[in-house]
């Protein structure tokens, strides 16, 4: 990862620099017009949020059943990123919703389940910050329950009418819209990998430093 970090950083920076141009050049959507362009950042934010949630849940499970500390560091770093990218999705969504639906927020299945999912990861971070010693295990359990929770929240709120655009919309994009969307998705995923790697490295160094302190005291 160390060798790849700098090239990936440059590539990601280039993609993000070009993204506004690509989005600018993409055609206007026939009914939404300009406001639809937020989709190029909104959807990739949620891609990253759900990838981060997956990494957190898997890291938590590995930590819980094998006791591997590095898995826990991955889980913590991923949880932080899930909150950040989830917040991005939650902020960009209403900007579009205000124009498309006339309201900032709908108690729609997708919105509600995304919000609940985001709250689980906020709770995760609060637990890590204020739970004190031993909260790693509980947070791993929380991440597992959070992942298991997703279908339930989705199912239980889906019985209210869904107004959010379907995910299948992504597959049926015009090539002129699909290419900038793919670019943005790749840029967001690359950013996620970069920040995750940097964050895990920081945690690893912190753990190594703690060990050095402890061995100094002995």
């Amino acid at each position: 990862m160390k060798k790849l970090f700098t090239p990936l950083l440059i590539l990601t920076a280039a993609m993000f620099a070009y993204a506004p141009v690509a989005i600018q050049n993409a055609p206007y959507e026939s009914t939404m017009g300009l406001v639809q362009k937020i989709f190029y950042f909104h959807v990739p934010s949620w891609f990253v949020m759900f990838s981060a949630a997956g990494v957190c849940g898997i890291g938590g499970a590995v930590f819980l059943f094998t006791g591997r500390k590095d898995a826990d560091r991955f889980a913590l770093a991923a949880a932080e990123l899930a909150v950040v990218f989830g917040l991005m999705g939650l902020l960009t969504g209403p900007l579009w919703g205000r124009k498309a639906w006339g309201v900032w927020w709908q108690w729609d299945a997708r919105l509600t389940s995304a919000l609940v999912m985001w709250l689980v990861f906020v709770a995760y971070l609060l637990l890590r910050k204020y739970g004190g010693a031993g909260s790693e295990k509980l947070s791993a359990v929380l991440a597992l329950f959070g992942m298991a929770n997703v279908p339930f929240v989705y199912l239980s709120v889906n019985l209210w009418r869904t107004v959010h655009p379907k995910t299948s919309v992504v597959m049926s994009l015009e090539p002129e819209m699909g290419r900038p969307f793919l670019l943005c998705s790749l840029a967001f995923m690359a950013l996620f990998v970069l920040v995750l790697a940097a964050r895990v490295r920081l945690e690893n160094m912190r753990a190594a430093l703690d060990e050095l302190y402890l061995s100094l005291e002995d």
Binding site: L119, L127, Y130, K137, L138, V141, N149, F152
Partner: protein
Amino acid sequence: MSPEARQSFAATVWLVTKKDLLIELRSREVVYTTLFFAVACVLVFAFGFVREGVAVDDAAAGILWIAIAFSGTLALGRTFERERQNDTLRALMLTPADRPALYVGKLTGVLVLLAAVELIVTPLVALMFHAPLFAFPLMMGLLLAAGTIGFAAVGTLFAAMLVRARSRDVLLPILLYPITIPVIIAGVRGTAVLLQPEVNLPVARMWLSILVFFDVVFITLALWTFEPAMSD
């Protein structure tokens, strides 16, 4: 599981439950405080949801389940605070008993407490909000039972694990509510169906089945994670 193992599992569950209920019967602390808290909740919500003497639509269902969730959190917190004071939870974990059996024992104790609270609060809500909660007693009872089991199954696991954490009082609701939102939704919607002028029983049954499914998944997960989570 062999018959002997099953027997010892049941015996452990019964011992833990009996211990909790005996302690509770002597002081009656949790049941009294939780019950009063639930009644206070109902009263506070009444101020918010009653317009010109009549409650807004579906208010009774929402108020009932929020009262259960809030007072359930209180009961969970108190039950495990008791285990913390003399470090008895650690003593319980040191016994050569099955960890899952200890979990089920604690869960049963909490469920009995919450059932006692619901036995008072449900008629109270029905009475104060003119809600025909007992028109379908079996369905209502099943919804309450399934919802309470789901809520308490997650709550018991989290409360047990929070015993050693700092700021546990604040963290319990913060962790518990996002995870148990499906229980609240299914409970409220299922109860609201029963309150309609024309009751659509298949819809209520669907919500009940969501609750039961939730119970199965979350009890399985809790049994599976209780052992590694509670060992140092």
